[in-house]
């Protein structure tokens, strides 16, 4: 058990830190949390939005969680199953979890393996529309060996078998409560979806959808001294700036989530001295996707598809490398992200073991080198300051992203930077619900990619990038044939890459997997399919009186709320 010693040390440290403030359950009164997106439902299987997953994480819990540094920690179990301790079979097709003894649901009944079996059936029901189905990829069956033992069998060897029941996206719900809510009945169970019974530190007392949730301490929580807070007020709605103000300036709230606010404004608010801005980095990367296919409108149906042929100039790595070199990422961070951003040259910057150093050339802007690359590749500067490709195409690109003030600021800066190397940029922004919506009839979705470049953030849940790196497989290219569903947005094609994806799905061992992932990362970056910009972190703020906060981008931000307390 790799993480056990650290975990024990952490627990010991926590016990010391917690001190007198958390001596008794409910002794610290109320904690007020504000999320500027309000939770709509407290069943994360029916709504995968972060607001819904994190608000319900106070109540329902997975078997294991990721801690603030991305290590897996046992939560409802005593240890994480591995091949070494026999929990994972030698052929990597089964994993067996053993629940800790004596864990009770908040209604006083014991948590058993049957609850986990039920949860799996509930989510895998084909008519239920479960939004966390991805956690159950390749699961053949989930069985209860005995009351406390859960055995998950996969259809194929899984080198990373920690999909089901790990992390905030895959909690366990109570079989007794949700028994009548399977499949098509799932949406009709309003009471259950608004007030799930859980094993977590809090229970729901009142839920006003899209507005506010109130919680009180769970009387049957496994640690009799926790949680320190008797009640939680979880308010939602409004906008990020006023949420920040309510913690940092007026002090009405204790914790505010996801403060995507211009860094200047945030530091002004922090100067009021009531709270602290904190940040934490997970796997989110703001990146530009290059369209390797031709988005020319004259191609009609073949626009942005493989059949339409390659892009007239972006398929040339010299051009994309020049575009990347021309970017001063430091300025982008200062202008739009502050503490919430770091320069990155990889699409996979985290966990640290997976971070490649092969692309660090992108960290410093080098206009001269970019110009030299383009000159060398035969792109001559035209009389209007825009280069022309050897085939006579002007280097003029349409660059689209979703509507959001930081993104539009970044777009404007990039346009200026690219003008310096003779690339003309036309900017476009689309409403997020249209851009990220999958309406196959809409020409404006990010999957259709009727543009040359597009910018957005993506990330992956947990710490294992296997599925994430498989996004750029050749057979995952969006096209009319698959209803434009597909993750390979740049239309990147490489047999070598596909082979690496296959290899990773069969390789166990952290070092070997990290090595594969880095190679894949380097291929995607060096081909120019993706121009990474910024490693984005979460930014939150908490009142100075709040103690025990360990901001976590790998799991729910409220993962350790049981340990929170109030400084005396």
């Amino acid at each position: 058990m790799r993480t056990m010693p650290k975990l024990l040390a952490g627990a010991a440290a926590l016990a010391l830190l917690a001190g007198p403030a958390a001596a008794e359950r409910g002794s610290a009164g109320q904690v007020n949390i504000i999320y500027w997106q309000a939770p709509s439902i407290l069943n994360p299987f029916l709504s995968g939005g972060t607001k819904d997953v994190e608000s319900s994480s106070l109540v329902i819990e997975p078997l294991a969680r990721y801690n603030e540094v991305g290590e897996m920690v046992p939560w409802l179990v005593d240890e994480i199953p591995t091949v070494e301790n026999g929990g994972v079979s030698e052929d990597l097709t089964t994993i067996t979890w053993k629940l800790s003894e004596g864990i009770l649901w908040s209604d006083g009944t014991p948590l058993t393996a049957a609850d986990a079996v039920f949860t799996a059936e509930y989510c895998m029901d084909p008519t239920g529309g479960c939004q966390q189905l991805a956690a159950f990829n390749d699961v053949e069956s989930v069985e209860a060996v005995d009351d406390l033992t859960i055995k998950i069998t996969f259809t194929k060897p899984k080198p990373f078998p920690y999909g089901p029941f790990v992390g905030a996206q895959s909690p366990i719900i109570q079989a007794a409560q949700f028994a009548d809510c399977m499949g098509i009945n799932a949406p009709n169970c309003t009471d259950e979806n608004f007030g799930p019974i859980g094993t977590g530190p809090f229970v729901v007392t009142d839920f006003k959808p899209n507005d506010v949730v109130t919680f009180e301490a769970n009387p049957n929580y496994r640690d009799p001294a926790k949680p320190a807070f008797a009640t939680v007020l979880f308010k939602g709605g409004g906008d990020a700036a006023s949420a920040a103000r309510s913690v940092l300036e007026t002090g009405e709230f204790d914790y505010a989530w996801n403060l995507q606010v211009e860094p200047e404004i945030l530091s002004q608010m922090e100067a009021a001295g009531k709270g602290t801005v904190i940040s934490s980095f997970g796997t989110s990367v703001e990146r530009i996707h290059t369209n390797f296919t031709n988005p020319d409108p004259s191609l009609g149906d073949k626009r942005s598809t493989l059949e339409g042929g390659p892009h007239p100039f972006l398929a040339d790595p010299a051009v994309t490398k020049a575009l990347s070199l021309a970017i001063d990422r430091e300025i982008l961070v200062i202008a739009g992200y502050g503490a919430a951003g770091q320069v990155t040259c990889n699409v996979l910057p985290n966990p640290p073991a997976f971070n490649s150093t092969a692309n660090d050339w992108c960290k410093t802007q080098d206009i001269e080198e970019a110009n030299r690359l383009l000159d060398e590749a035969g792109y001559e500067m035209g009389s209007d300051g825009v280069r022309v490709s050897p085939d006579g195409d002007r280097l003029s690109v349409l660059f689209q992203t979703s509507t959001n003030s930081v993104r539009q600021g970044t777009q404007a800066l990039l346009k200026q930077m690219w003008a310096e190397i003779g690339v003309e940029t036309e900017l476009r922004n689309l409403d997020a619900s249209v851009f990220f919506g999958g309406d196959p009839a809409s020409p404006d979705t990010f999957q259709k990619f009727y543009a040359d470049l597009e910018m957005f953030t993506n990330s992956f849940d947990g710490t294992d990038p296997e599925t994430y790196m498989a996004s750029w497989k050749s057979d995952d290219i969006p096209s009319p044939a698959n209803g434009w569903l597909g993750n390979n947005i740049p239309r990147f094609q490489s047999e070598e890459y596909d082979a690496l994806v296959q290899e990773m799905s069969e390789t166990a061992g952290l070092d070997a997997r990290a090595d594969l992932a880095k190679r894949m990362n380097d291929m995607v970056i060096q081909s120019g399919a993706i121009i990474p910009l910024i490693h984005r972190g979460g930014v939150s703020a908490h009142a100075d009186t709040l103690t025990g906060i360990k901001m976590n981008e790998w799991d729910s931000e409220l993962w350790n709320i049981a340990d929170w307390g109030r400084a005396q």
């Binding site: 949406p187 103000r245 953030t457």
Partner: protein, 336 residues
């Protein structure tokens, strides 16, 4: 009058049906997607299943027909059952479900209606109370310093958007002075003088922001209507008969000037139910406006459809009310 009312109501039915169809069609054509707000970590295949589970796999006319049955038949039956305690057939009839919360839209509306009526309704009352004296006095002392000030006030109130006044109020009263809460506590239960005071404190800012905006508009109507009447012959007659200025202005002129203003006020009532999207969002009042904007952003089509349709019903109804009021207030107008 009765036959006129009945005829208008009968006309309203096809009008509303056409409106509901148009709303549904527009929402269906809009390129937003209920899974558009989900994290990108949810893969496209799962998104497709989510869409199917929401009923998006069915053709347009089937979905419209289902909504009509749910809204025009099932929901009224449910309400009837709740009010009377009768049981009318299968109690598990499908209701209009919100895609975001997976709960019945009508329940969401019922939960949010009181806040909207209190905050937005109160702001309407405040607006009227401020506007009528300003309008009357501005007209009476036309071009005086008071009139100039009233014009300035209404220009400012009219042209400064509520998101700006709201922010200014928060910065002044919450951040600098610390007198009022910047976030509306929707869990507050009023059961004592203390909690009543809390409720008033949290209502002051949103009510005033909206009230000033309303007052600016209404005071202009009032002033214009007063000016129309002040030069009429009957005013001169009243003065010639030796009545005091108070009686002339407040009894003769004001009553006649109120006729157009009352109809304008009646036409504005549906806006109260519609909530004030921006103000509710700024102060986090869980009203109908906030529900609507959240539903639009989340592409929650059943909620948007139901809410906009209810607004349409209210607008049609209050148009009728305004017309009837006109007839009642002005004896010269008769509909039969």
């Amino acid at each position: 009058m009765l036959t006129y009312t009945l005829r208008r109501l009968a006309f309203a039915i096809p009008t509303l049906l056409v409106i509901s169809f148009i709303i549904f069609a527009i929402l269906d054509l809009a390129p937003s997607d209920p899974t558009g707000q989900l994290p990108l970590t949810i893969p496209p295949e799962v998104r497709e299943k989510i869409r199917l589970s929401l009923g998006l796999g069915e053709p347009f006319h089937v979905r419209y027909f289902k909504w009509c049955v749910q809204f025009f038949v099932n929901e009224p039956l449910n309400i009837l059952e709740q009010w009377t305690g009768w049981s009318l057939g299968d109690p598990d009839r499908p209701r209009v479900l919100s895609w975001q919360t997976r709960s019945p839209v009508v329940d969401l509306i019922v939960e949010r209606m009181p806040q909207t009526l209190w905050v937005v309704g109160m702001s309407y009352v405040v607006g009227i109370v401020i506007a009528i004296p300003i309008g009357v006095l501005s007209a009476y002392w036309q071009y005086s310093w008071f009139d100039q000030f009233g014009t300035l006030f209404s220009m400012i109130g009219f042209s400064i958007p509520t998101f700006f006044t709201g922010l200014v109020f928060i910065v002044v009263f919450s951040v600098w002075l610390g007198w009022l809460p910047s976030i509306y506590d929707t869990t507050l239960v009023v059961n004592s003088w203390g909690s009543f005071w809390e409720q008033i404190k949290q209502m002051i800012m949103p009510t005033m922001v909206l009230g000033l905006f309303n007052a600016a508009q209404i005071s202009r109507f009032m002033r214009a209507s007063m000016l129309d009447n002040l030069n009429q012959d009957y005013v001169r007659t009243a003065r010639a008969k030796g009545m005091t200025e108070q009686v002339v202005v407040l009894i003769h002129v004001l009553r006649n000037s109120m006729i157009p203003v009352v109809t304008v006020l009646a036409l504005g009532v549906p806006q109260i139910f519609g909530g004030a999207i921006i103000t509710e969002q700024i102060f986090r009042v869980n009203g109908l406006g906030q529900l609507l904007i959240g539903a639009i952003q989340g592409a929650d089509i059943p909620t948007v459809q139901t809410l906009t349709f209810i607004f349409a019903v209210l607008i049609v109804l209050f148009n009728l009310v305004a017309d009837l009021l006109y007839g009642i207030l002005d004896p010269r107008i008769r509909y039969d």
